[in-house]
Amino acid sequence: MKAQIQTYLPVIFLAVLVLLVGAYDPTFFSINNFLQVTADTMTLFLMAAGVTFVIMIGGIDLSIQAVASMASCILAAYLARLGILAIPLAVLGGAIAGLAGAIVSTKLRIPSFIATLAVSGVVLSAGYWFSDTRSINIPPDLSARYLSWAVGETLGIPHELWVGFIVMILLSILLQLTPFGRLIRGIGAQEQAVIASGINVDRIKLAAYTLSGALAALAGVVMAARLGSGSPTLANEFLLPAIASIIVGGTAITGGVGSVWRTFVGALIVQVVRIGMTFMGVSVFAQQIVFGFILVAAVAVTMDRSKLLVVK
């Protein structure tokens, strides 16, 4: 029973936040607003979703921000020439960046923190190269033709939400139902035991980072679609909120414990705290301070520490 409650603490925390903001300003309570807020959260979620896998194996990916920006540049630069193929190309670019970080980390045995940080410098340069150091407009007609899956509405629900839901479902399946997901959890919990069971752990790690890069790139593509252009700085200031989303959702930064829906809820918590402050009219000077303290409080509430011997 207690374990059950522990599992759903992030959801409860989110619900309390929503009720709090709604009680203060009832205009917050509208289906349309909820849909909007959730749709706006999706780019953050997409960025965080892939990293969730990396954090679950006990690593970290600090290159996602640069990767998303680079992907937006690739998309914007090649959409006119390649059409729909620019999308897989952008995602492929992200996947390669993720893979590069993973190779540096696993083959050269460099902590992922530094490996991905260093790779993100390379990716940033690549972004500048693809965009020729400019932000590139995506003409509305091209956007309408190729990117309508990411913007607009179907059945009254914003497309960002559909994308987010589909990604969440696919990733949840990947994490919960496939051998890959099983091994991700195992590596995070006790890597040596997984190695000793004859599993090619490096391959799983490479896959996790590649996935992280690919999803960051997808986030970049969706961002570019929403904003109608690509820019080498498009996803700036996304990195730390994305990682905060994962941890606020209750995924342990040390690995082994976590899930994709947690990241979804975590991203919503981050978003609701921010938007909530605007709704409640918290002074703009106090916002960052309140945000910081709520993040800490959220982790204190949502994190399941029962399985951890020491907290570092």
Binding site: Y24, D25, S131, S231, T233, L234, P241, G281
Partner: protein, 364 residues
């Protein structure tokens, strides 16, 4: 600027009381002092808001001040929104405010990145609010395509202003020799424009002035400091002047020069007209800076839409040079620095177009 100081000090007092609240740890303290009052459903009057990157820089702080003063003058509610450099946050905040005010929102936005402008304009139009954008927008996004909700886009023309201030720099060292230049984030529109202005100025000297090196310092003072240090090593006394695409980086460069005993010897120019830079101009360490008028942009970006809302003007009938226009940059040099400081530009909220200097030019 001096006139601003009393009101700023008043603001500081408020902030101190706010800090007390924080020190009391208070979530309770913060919440108590920071939440004005619950807004119940539809608000009868228009809410005004400025959206900007961060209150941590002087330009935007004054920008916000302008909005606040204007709102006070008409007795409207006012909010400041900050993006913290995160495009999605900026957009979500505006959406939240549109939701909260039921669309009765006038918002003056300095978009975090030019792509954001389109989304913001679309959202505001959908909700029935009014918007003015500043500095950044895609070239193909025009106010008249979103009548009447997209009131205007205002900017300062980086090219001629950068060119003018570059010429001040050249003048300061005698018009012949090498300079180094610090740029903003490579892909930012103002950074690009200012670089272009510098290039134009150099080209016009017919080879007398040489650009020794150009490095982007990403608008960051610290980076500018370190790069300038390295330049001193690399070029030594070949450096006759330092061009910085904004005053913050200029200050970083100046401090690096000071460490090497070159402050005042090697002139620096910046752009923005922040207090520190104007003082440096007075002290002879800066050869000049371009003062934008953030108080004007912060207030006029709200005053113009408000004039439309209240029926004083019909924005759809205004000419294009009132829909996409440049403001006036003031070149501050030693000659006028003291005057500028003691008698800063004034803003008359009723003079909507007085400081407009022409329709925006698209160069690419």
């Amino acid at each position: 600027m001096a006139k601003l100081i009393p009101s700023l000090e008043a603001a500081l007092v408020n902030r101190r009381s706010l800090l007390k609240g924080i020190a009391g740890i208070g979530a309770a303290g913060v919440v108590g002092s920071a939440f004005p009052r619950p807004a119940i459903a539809q608000e009868a009057t228009w809410t005004l808001a400025n959206s900007l990157r961060s209150l941590a820089n002087p330009y935007h702080a004054t920008f916000a001040k302008g909005g606040e003063e204007f709102a006070k003058s008409i007795g409207a509610k006012y909010e400041t929104l900050v993006t913290e450099g995160n495009s999605e946050k900026g957009i979500s905040d505006i959406k939240a405010l549109l939701q909260r005010t039921g669309g009765k929102l006038i918002v003056n936005v300095d978009p975090n990145d030019s792509p954001d402008a389109r989304v913001i304009v679309e959202e505001v139009k959908k909700a029935g609010g009014f918007v003015v954008t500043q500095w950044n927008k895609p070239d193909d996004l025009h106010p008249w395509d979103f009548d009447p909700n997209y009131i205007a886009h205002m900017s300062f023309d980086g090219v001629p202003n950068a060119e003018a201030i570059a010429n001040e720099l050249f003048k300061a060292f005698g018009g012949e020799g090498g300079i180094v230049a610090l740029g903003g984030i490579l892909s930012n529109v103002p950074a690009i424009e200012r670089k272009l202005g510098l290039d134009n100025a150099i080209a016009k000297t017919n080879g007398k002035v040489k650009l020794l090196d150009f490095q982007p310092a990403d608008w960051n003072e610290q980076k500018a400091f370190d790069i300038t240090q390295a330049w001193v090593t690399r070029f030594g006394d070949q450096i006759k002047g330092v061009f910085a695409a904004n005053d913050g980086m200029g200050m970083g460069a100046l401090e690096a020069l000071r460490q090497n005993g070159l402050a005042g010897t090697v002139p620096v120019v910046g752009i923005d007209g922040i207090d520190a830079a104007v003082s440096a101009v007075e002290a002879g360490e800066f050869a000049g800076t371009v003062a934008w008028d953030p108080f004007w942009t912060g207030s006029m970006g709200l005053a113009i839409p408000y004039a439309h809302v209240t029926g004083k003007i019909d924005i759809t009938k205004e000419p294009k040079e009132h829909r996409e226009f440049y403001g006036t940059g003031i070149i501050v040099t030693k000659a006028n620095a003291a005057e500028f400081k003691s008698n800063p530009p004034k803003t008359d909220f009723n003079d909507l177009w007085g400081k407009v200097t022409g329709q925006i030019q698209y160069r690419s």
